[in-house]
């Protein structure tokens, strides 16, 4: 593999002096396949399933370290690939077993598809190398672009502008306007950012006293519905972890919350489930769990 083909290099990785946390500039990688191929070539491995399972940990470390620098769209791509890789790795670690149920079959299919997509991507990347070589050659050739000799200039047919004054002005307006990328604005979809992790923190703080509290009073300071939702999701999360007990005597009635874990249990993992996901929704939570529960701390490559 041509290492220079990857847009990311080892120099993108480093430990920040301040917090000692491991930082990675994932934006230097054009997506999960680019990152995967770079990792594989870094280890001088050929693209095989074994190579994939070998670089899985590093791949996941990259994503974890990337943190907020990924937008949701990018993160999804990376996480989907990470989940499949983990699956692949698990399959290699476990003694080979027969395919038992449909989930296993689905996992196998996902693995094959990932493998095939990676190979396909690599093929196109090699084609891109071909294009690059040609571009380089061509950039060293210059075409003759000089003014017409005066005696021929007179032979030019009379020029047609083909537009009226108004259309011409519109063209000018378009031309002098700074190039703003044409994009459908999604800003209206982004109601203020709400972090479920943050709300879990608030809940822990308030509940750790031990007294039973109603959900109503726990959300009395919330100013938006989204905050209430975030707090509720955080509550469910704490419940799954056995940190709180929930009691609701009648349907749609008051929800009573009580802290059941040890008082000083800061439960550092609790926030990991959401890990700064700004859009608390089901599927993402599940995928984040795959990564978070793996429990690996990022480490320098």
């Amino acid at each position: 593999m041509d290492e220079a083909g990857g847009s990311g290099t080892a120099s993108d990785i480093g430990v920040a002096p301040g917090d000692g946390r491991f930082h990675v500039t994932l934006t230097n990688f054009e997506g999960p396949f680019d990152l995967l191929l770079s990792l594989i070539s870094k280890h001088k491995l050929d693209v095989t399933e074994i190579a994939l399972s070998q670089v899985t940990d590093e791949f996941i470390n990259y994503i974890e370290a990337a943190g907020d620098s990924l937008d949701l769209g990018q993160a999804t791509e990376f996480v989907v690939v990470a989940a499949t890789l983990l699956d692949l790795k698990a399959a290699r670690l476990l003694p080979s077993a027969d395919v038992e149920d449909e989930d296993d079959l689905a996992a196998l299919e996902a693995r094959d598809l990932l493998f095939a997509r990676l190979l396909a991507y690599r093929a196109f990347r090699e084609a891109a190398d071909f294009l690059r070589a040609h571009e380089l050659d061509q950039s060293r050739r210059f075409s003759r672009e000089v003014s017409l000799e005066p005696r021929f200039a007179g032979a030019l047919p009379d020029v047609l502008l083909g537009v009226g004054v108004e259309a011409f002005a519109a063209l000018a307006a378009k031309a002098v306007q700074p190039q703003v990328p044409v994009e459908v604005s999604t800003s209206h979809l982004h109601v203020p950012r709400v972090s479920v992790r943050e709300h879990a923190g608030i809940l822990r703080q308030r509940l750790a006293g031990g007294a039973t509290t109603s959900f109503r009073s726990l959300t009395s300071d919330c100013s938006t519905t989204l905050e209430v939702v975030a707090r509720f999701l955080a509550l469910l999360d704490l419940h799954t972890r056995g940190s709180v007990s929930l009691e609701q005597l009648t349907a749609l009635g008051e929800l009573h919350v009580r802290w059941t874990a040890a008082k000083e249990d800061a439960d550092p993992e609790a926030g990991q489930v959401w890990d700064d996901q700004e859009q608390p929704d089901g599927p993402d939570a599940t995928q984040a769990q795959v990564v978070g529960d793996d429990g690996r701390q990022p480490r320098p490559a």
Binding site: F33, F124, A127, Q138, R140, R141, F142, R144, Q179, V182
Partner: protein, 186 residues
């Protein structure tokens, strides 16, 4: 007499190539010079190899659907000083990869390209459109998504005369066809 006629034809072809500002198709030359296209094509090939043989400062190359004179690569460093700014903007890795997908799969939708590259390609496609290297041509009957193709300028910029000059993908990846055709019908 044949030699003299050829010499005149060669000179005329050379003179026209000398003033054009885009690649000229052999057919256009044939029409202008009132000769058979096949004869012009023959002359073009002869000229190109003559320039090679004489190791001239310029070369004659097929570019896109026509032919055009260029300076020989070897002299690039001398020529560069005379060629003004802005012409050497290189394509990024993302742009080249996206172009490769479009070139091989055209006409192709944005989402197909995105699936192959594993990232959103909206920004790159916009850049390639604005630089005239790809164009939108019709839309996918199933998804309604715009279909993208490479342009003449793409061929010219890369010194290719047709996309058929691209290397075969198959040796790079035995299975690529089956995988790709699978995900083209979601």
């Amino acid at each position: 007499m044949t030699a003299a006629i050829d010499e005149h034809l060669r000179g005329a072809v050379e003179a026209i190539l000398f003033v054009v500002d885009t690649p000229v198709p052999a057919a256009t030359l044939a029409e202008l010079l009132d000769v058979e296209e096949v004869i012009v094509t023959e002359q073009l090939h002869a000229l190109a190899s003559e320039y090679e043989r004489q190791h001239r400062g310029f070369t004659l190359r097929p570019a896109g659907e026509g032919w055009r004179l260029y300076t020989r690569e070897e002299y690039a460093e001398h020529v560069e000083r005379y060629v003004t700014e802005g012409q050497r903007a290189r394509l990024t890795q993302a742009a080249l990869e996206t172009l490769a997908v479009v070139a091989y799969r055209q006409p192709v939708t944005r989402s197909r390209i995105s699936a192959i590259r594993g990232v959103s390609v909206d920004g790159v496609i916009r850049t390639l459109l604005s630089r005239g290297l790809v164009a939108e041509e019709g839309s996918d009957p199933q998804t309604g998504g715009g279909l993208y193709v490479t342009t003449e300028l793409f061929l010219e910029k890369l010194g290719l005369s047709s996309v058929s000059e691209l290397p075969d993908l198959a040796p790079l990846l035995p299975d690529v066809e089956s995988v790709l055709s699978e995900d083209s019908n979601p």
